[in-house]
């Protein structure tokens, strides 16, 4: 491990240590792999959407209200997450904590509505084993949900570390990386919103 530390005061904290810089780059590359992962899931879902066997069609059960609430919660959380990093850049630990906790709250809210929605689908007779289309739906949307769940735990852990150690090059790199992850989930959701929900509803009603 090389150990060049940067002392230019204009460099954001998370980029000051060699380890921080390497980790952030590595995480970007990891996100590249995540893109490949979600792309595969999307492709699978697209291929299977019309294969509903004897089960309900996908668009038949989608509900606009729940969808809009989920979308609103997640998009807002991405925004608050951005504010948190902004506060971090200003070395304002309190601000960082506050906005991150709000982000987590919004994330939890998203999960709550997503789980409600899943339960509703299952109640209406559509579960992972109903048809290929529903298998594709639950696994694609569920993988995103599992990512959000993981993200909530991860951010919490990192916040505990910030609380214990304050903002150091190491903790700030961790915060920054979790924020990248969180924004990425937001982007994936936009694709789910369009490719799964909107197209599903248009196809069913239109």
């Amino acid at each position: 491990m090389a150990h060049a530390e940067t002392h230019d005061p204009n460099t954001p904290l998370e980029y000051r240590s060699e380890v921080g810089r390497l980790n952030i780059l590595g995480f970007w590359i990891f996100l590249g792999a995540e893109v490949a992962l979600f792309a595969t899931l999307f492709a699978t879902y697209m291929v299977l959407t019309h294969r509903i066997a004897d089960g309900p069609a996908l668009g038949e059960l989608f509900e606009v209200k729940s969808l809009l609430i989920q979308t609103f919660l997640l998009l807002t959380s991405s925004f608050t997450c951005g504010l948190a990093v902004h506060e971090m850049r200003r070395h304002n630990v309190k601000g960082l904590m506050l906005w991150m906790i709000i982000t987590l709250g919004l994330g939890l809210g998203f999960l709550y509505f997503e789980i409600q929605e899943f339960l509703h689908f299952i109640h209406e007779g559509a579960n992972i084993g109903t048809s290929a289309a529903w298998s594709g739906f639950f696994v694609l949307v569920g993988t995103h949900g599992a990512h959000v769940t993981f993200g909530i735990f991860w951010v919490t852990m990192v916040l505990i570390q910030v609380a214990k150690r304050g903002l150091t090059p190491a903790t700030s790199a961790k915060v920054f990386i979790t924020s990248l992850y969180w924004h990425f989930l937001d982007v994936v959701w936009i694709f789910i919103f369009t490719a799964v929900y909107l197209m599903g509803m248009v196809m069913h009603h239109g």
Binding site: A33, A36, A53, G129, S135, R165
Partner: protein, 646 residues
């Protein structure tokens, strides 16, 4: 699962295996305890984060897997030696070709190359370590645990039998009940995590840790091939992850991705599998190309011909590798238009591959060629690989493929590319860099015996299979009739197979012999090499690799320094304290929890899977809270290691 089904019983071969496993275990336990080696094992190996040691562990595991896969192969060849043989029954035969294929590609070829990459790449780029040493250990342990999980299927629960391609619906619960197929799914899934992490780790290492002056177009060819391979890994492995997960869902939770009920699509599996599977073929061939490039240039005493052309052709191959997957199932109903497109893209790969072959030939042209063993393997590679490549183009003609598909012609083709490419490459690389790993060379005379035995055996084994294939012998059959007339060629093929087996034994003997008797190297430059890994003063580089990071001024920097008589000598004032990462037992423990997790899923014991999962997450959290900034090696220690007086 009933308890009496837990251990595989009823076959003398299995009992033999049981006994040998128990004896080996007892032997190891006894030896380790008697000679008080446990602490050494733990501190030197199990907790290491040194890329060179991890590399050696990869290679050792891969050689063991080569043995396992090789035994499988010889069992199959024995069964096929004569018509209507009764040595193996059909189920057993199916299990063996499945484990053979899977182990050879996933647990032998790839780890062997990743092992060599681990040892060599950081040294070649003048780095002290990889970008994420700790993650590197995690990669190794997940690979190792995945491999072990897959291997124990043999004696516990039963092996998978749906082929290494595991086509659905053959691999479904209905047609492959029991834990066998689950072993495949979880063994590959867990090892796949490690591979992806390796991909990220070495991509960042090569991009960010190069010595000053080493621009991208001054990197040694092996490093280049590793870089390209890592990019392929990063895009291909997530596809495998998803495919395996979806099949696991089908088997565990009754989803309908690939089943015929619920309108699932079995062809979706074939597509996903080969979307990963074809790039995988290049993951195991490009690093081998890199190895040959280094060796041919070193032993021709010439700079690699067409360095840039080599790089561009590799990048082309990497791109194409994602565009040809359908050639694996031309006959499975894709339609003429689709087949034509994929037929053309497949043949197009031959062009950059041909460019590389000519570059190697031109490198040798007018060179002062030294016929060392690594060089022999490289020359053998060129000749035999071309045979595999030409027959590959024959297979790529979709219409003709209806004739060859699923015959021994295909089997012969991919062994010609996989063995002459990858396996020859692994051997060549192992022998070439052996002195870097262990401080002495393998014996050259015995090495030449290994080469000739293996190469002749290889051709005797696989050449007849082209003709068997043209004669209509299908692959994956456990026996054939007398009237088919396939008996004699099969016998020849089996004899060739055993000759390769003997060659392997001689190779192992050579390791033992050289360990005992080989002359120890006194400098780091055992072969009069060209690249930075040969520039370390001691035969085996110390754990920090370079006391002083070299500065590079061009391709083959070290060689040109030697030619000009200007190799820098280190003096005491060059030495500064060196920062290094600390060892950690966490990756090993995390790996063990992965084992528990995988084993639980294999047998559908959710409590166990959950326990393992908690363990894995626990170790992740533990690591996240651990603030270990590594340590410094003092100037005194460096001076002493480098034997420099103050």
């Amino acid at each position: 699962m009933k308890w009496d089904e837990f251990f595989v019983t009823g076959d003398p071969l299995i009992y033999g295996a049981d006994v040998s496993i128990v004896l080996t275990m007892a032997g190891i336990l006894f030896y380790m305890t008697r000679y008080k080696k446990w602490k050494w094992l733990w501190t030197e190996w199990l907790t290491t984060v040194d890329h060179k040691k991890l590399g050696i562990m990869y290679i050792v595991s891969a050689v063991l897997m080569l043995f396992r896969g090789g035994v499988d192969a010889l069992l199959m060849r024995t069964q096929l030696a004569v018509p209507e043989a009764k040595f193996l029954d059909s189920q057993h035969y199916n299990e063996i070709f499945t484990t053979h294929g899977t182990i050879m590609i996933i647990f032998m070829a790839m780890p062997f190359l990743i092992g060599i990459i681990n040892v060599v790449v950081p040294l070649q780029i003048g780095a002290r370590d990889v970008a994420y040493p700790y993650l590197n250990a995690v990669s190794f342990w997940t690979f190792f645990i995945g491999a072990m999980l897959f291997n124990i299927s043999f004696v516990i629960g039963g092996s998978p039998s749906a082929g290494w391609t595991s086509y659905m619906p053959l691999a479904s619960n209905e047609l492959s009940p029991g834990p066998g197929q689950n072993y495949y799914l979880w063994g590959l899934q867990i090892a796949g995590i490690g591979t992806l992490l390796t991909g990220i780790n070495f991509l960042v290492t090569i991009l960010k840790m190069r010595a000053p002056g080493m621009t991208l177009f001054r990197m040694p060819m092996f490093t280049w091939s590793s870089l390209v391979t890592m990019v392929i890994i990063i895009f291909a492995f997530p596809i495998l992850t998803v495919a395996l997960a979806l099949m696991s869902f089908d088997r565990l939770f009754g989803s309908h991705f690939f089943t015929l009920q619920g309108e699932g699509m079995d062809m979706l599996w074939a597509n996903l599998f080969w979307l990963w599977g074809h790039p995988e073929v290049y993951i195991v061939i490009l690093p081998a190309f890199g190895i040959f490039s280094e060796i041919i240039s070193t032993f021709s005493k010439k700079t690699l011909f067409g360095y840039k052309a080599m790089i561009w052709s590799m990048l082309l191959i990497a791109g194409y590798s994602f565009l040809v997957w359908v050639h694996h199932f031309f006959t499975m109903g894709s339609g003429a238009a689709v087949n034509s497109v994929f037929s053309i893209t497949t043949m197009a790969i031959g062009i950059p591959t041909g460019v590389k072959i000519f570059n190697w030939l031109f490198t040798m042209y007018r060179g002062k060629i030294q016929f060392t063993t690594p060089m022999l393997w490289s020359l053998g590679f060129i000749v035999n690989f071309v045979v595999g490549g030409v027959t590959g183009v024959m297979l790529a003609m979709a219409a003709a493929d209806y004739q060859y598909h699923n015959t021994y012609f295909l089997v012969s083709h991919f062994h010609y590319v996989l063995i002459a490419g990858t396996v020859f490459g692994c051997f060549a690389g192992l022998i070439y860099w052996y002195p870097k790993m262990f401080g002495y060379k393998l014996n050259e005379r015995i090495g030449k015996w290994v080469f000739w035995l293996f190469t002749i055996g290889f051709n005797v084994c696989f050449m007849p299979q082209y003709f068997l294939g043209l004669d209509g012998m299908p692959r994956r059959v456990y026996t054939y009739s007398e009237e088919s007339g396939w008996g004699p060629l099969n016998m020849v093929s089996t004899l060739g197979g055993f000759m390769m087996g003997i060659a392997f034994l001689v190779l192992v003997y050579n390791m033992y012999y050289s360990f005992r008797f080989a002359k120890r190297e006194t400098t780091g430059d055992a072969w009069d090499g060209r690249t930075l890994e040969w520039s370390t003063p001691s035969a085996m580089p110390p754990f920090y690799n370079f006391a002083k990071i070299p500065e590079v001024t061009g391709l083959d920097h070290f060689w040109r320094q030697k030619q000009a008589g200007k190799v820098e000598k280190l003096t005491a004032k060059d030495i500064k304290k060196i920062h290094m990462p600390s060892n950690s037992g966490v990756p090993f423990i995390m790996g063990s929890f992965f084992f528990v997790l995988g084993f639980g899923f294999v047998f559908d014991w959710m409590w166990m899977a959950i326990l393992g999962g908690i363990g894995v997450i626990g170790t992740l959290i533990y690591r996240s809270f651990e603030y270990d900034d590594g340590y410094y090696v003092s100037v005194e220690e460096v001076l002493e290691t480098e034997k420099i007086s103050k």
